[in-house]
């Protein structure tokens, strides 16, 4: 792929065990800047575990994670966030009692205060810069209409966009999206992904997204990682990965729609 210079993310021999259960093993990947990587695999294949290790939610049992030449293995999540890796969640994680704008403003203000304790106590939440940043991101994700709506009453799709927007408002260089379209109806999925992906492209963000819908993967990914039983069984362009016989055999939904990407390209 367009592997110019050092990879932004390099994962080596990563492994995670829970007691006797091996949730992830022998994971080796390196991702060049600005690539969009689709992550596929059956339920329980280890996709979320993989993302949780990169973002510091879980400490790897073995192996190393390099981000922009810095070893981030085992760092706490908030430090990893500050280094420039953000994430969204399989189930959208927003602040339900706050409005869309307040959610975004909090995320923007924290990102600008660089998160250290003294900074958060001495910086006003609603600084003009944070307000401008929050407003710009609300617009970028096309949820301006819901700006003053409390997050607990949002439609699922808007909640997802807000969740991702709150990760993007910090200007991360690497973004991990865990099933951005889960809980979204088939008709809405492509619209949602179009909004998300054009927003991320406009900010030159490197993306890893977990997705079960192969049409979406084929349409939006530059590269596909296929997970099975905690490890990567295929890594290549969407065509290479989705046509791989083992992937077709082991991951449901791949074989059903061969070459689906073309329909939406």
């Amino acid at each position: 792929m367009n592997a110019s210079g050092n990879p932004i993310l390099a994962v080596r021999d990563l492994e995670k065990t829970f007691g006797s259960l091996v949730a992830a093993r022998d994971i080796n990947v390196s991702v060049p800047a600005e690539q969009t990587v689709g992550v596929i695999g059956a339920n329980g294949a280890g996709k979320t575990t993989f993302i949780n290790m990169i973002t510091g939610h879980l400490t790897p049992s073995k192996g190393s994670i390099q981000f922009e030449d810095k070893d981030i293995t085992g760092l706490p999540s908030r430090e990893i966030t500050r280094l420039g890796i953000s994430r969204s969640f399989q189930v959208a994680q927003v602040f339900p009692s706050l409005t869309v704008f307040d959610n975004m403003c909090i995320a923007a203000a924290i990102a600008r205060a660089h998160g250290d304790l003294f900074g958060t106590v001495t910086t006003a939440l609603r600084s003009p810069a944070a307000i401008a940043e929050a407003q710009a991101t609300v617009e970028l994700f096309q949820i301006t209409r819901y700006r003053d709506t409390p997050a607990n009453t949002l439609p699922q799709g808007v909640r997802k966009l807000l969740d991702i927007g709150m990760a993007v408002v910090a200007w991360p260089r690497l973004l991990l999206l865990d099933e951005p379209t889960s809980g979204i109806s088939i008709e809405e999925k492509f619209d949602l992904m179009n909004v998300v992906m054009s927003a991320l492209k406009s900010r030159k963000i490197t993306v890893l997204f977990v997705e079960h819908d192969m049409e979406i993967v084929a349409r939006f990914a530059d590269r596909v990682l296929a997970f099975y039983d905690g490890t990567i069984i295929a890594d290549g362009t969407p065509h290479e990965a989705l046509d791989d016989p083992r992937v077709q055999e082991l991951i449901s939904g791949v074989r059903v729609k061969p070459g689906a990407g073309a329909a939406h390209a």
């Binding site: 966030t81 994680q93 927003v94 909090i106 958060t120 910086t123 709150m166 990760a167 910090a170």
Partner: protein, 316 residues
């Protein structure tokens, strides 16, 4: 709106300061105690907003009070302002230690650990005969910038000191509420995981809240000690903590002024009930709490908000 409520706060402060010389002594001392206690309640509001209740805030109240009493007794240092600041610092240091332990706990565990720590202090003080055990001991009369005052002048000076420290604390806590760390109270209540992933340590933010509440509790206890002229272990007893939580519910967490109004109402109701309905004081208290929770779940402070909303709705 913000400008108007700030203006109202300044006016209320000036009126409270100017009216004092016209009020009878007992009203001045009642208001002094009310505002001293309001500082403790303001600290509880800081915690409350993040969904945390401390049933042991009397710990800091008591530490503030004993810091004042012991400093005066052991060193002879007598300046009221200096003593109160020491009380705040002493309680803040203890809160820093306590926070390292309890900032990881939530809900009933947070509440009960606070309670346990305050009862440990109570137990220690009761066992310390050199400090008068359950009787406590007398606090020497403070001086003000080198002036020794007596009688009603002393009462007035303490009142103004309390009012002034209360006003400064209210302004500072107001600024804190508008800071990022202060604004994270609702998000922490809502979703701690998300706060962590935004790059902030929830534990540290709560630790800061514990220290702020501790300093405020210490200042309140220090002022109360000077005003009452006496300290005893009951200042750390769980009923004292319960009283502060009571006033917090009565006042509500809506504004930094509410604790002062709520505490004044509480002390007024108490002195009325103790005089007029002897023996029925607890029942009166219970009834007031019940009515507050049923009809004013957001406390007395929410009356002002409702009023403002109604005014705003009116065409002008």
């Amino acid at each position: 709106m913000a400008v108007r409520s700030r203006l109202a706060g300044v006016l209320a402060f000036l009126m409270a300061a100017a009216a004092a010389p016209l009020m009878p002594d007992w009203v001045v001392s009642l208001a002094t105690i009310a505002f001293a206690n309001a500082l403790v309640v303001l600290g509880l509001v800081v915690l409350w907003r993040a969904g945390l209740v401390s049933f042991g805030q009397a710990l800091y109240y008591c530490i503030g009070a004993y810091t004042v009493a012991l400093t005066a007794r052991w060193t002879g240092f007598n300046d009221a302002f200096g003593l109160v600041i020491l009380g705040g610092i002493g309680a803040g240091l203890i809160a820093g230690l306590v926070g390292a332990l309890i900032a990881r706990y939530r809900e009933i565990f947070f509440a009960m650990l606070s309670l346990a720590l305050s009862m440990i202090l109570y137990g220690v003080l009761v066992k310390t005969e050199s400090l008068g055990s359950t009787d406590g001991f007398t606090v020497s009369t403070p001086t003000f910038l080198g002036f020794a005052l007596h009688g009603d002048k002393l009462g007035l000076a303490l009142y103004w000191l309390t009012l002034g420290i209360g006003a400064v604390a209210a302004v500072l806590v107001g600024i804190y509420f508008r800071s990022i760390a202060g604004s994270l109270a609702a998000p922490i209540r809502d979703n701690e995981i998300r706060v962590e992933f935004l790059g902030v340590s929830v534990t540290r933010i709560i630790h800061v809240k514990v220290v702020i509440a501790g300093v405020l509790g210490g200042l309140g206890g220090a002022l109360a000690a000077l005003s009452i002229g006496h300290v005893d272990p009951a200042m750390s007893y769980w009923t004292t903590s319960g009283g502060f939580v009571f006033v917090t519910i009565l006042a509500g967490a809506g504004s930094v002024a509410a604790p002062f109004v709520g505490s004044l109402v509480f002390e007024a109701v108490r002195s009325f009930a103790v005089d007029a309905l002897p023996g029925l004081w607890q029942m009166t208290l219970g009834t007031v709490l019940l009515l507050t929770i049923l009809f004013l779940p957001d406390g007395l402070g929410s009356l002002a908000t409702r009023w403002r909303k109604r005014e705003g709705a009116k065409p002008t």
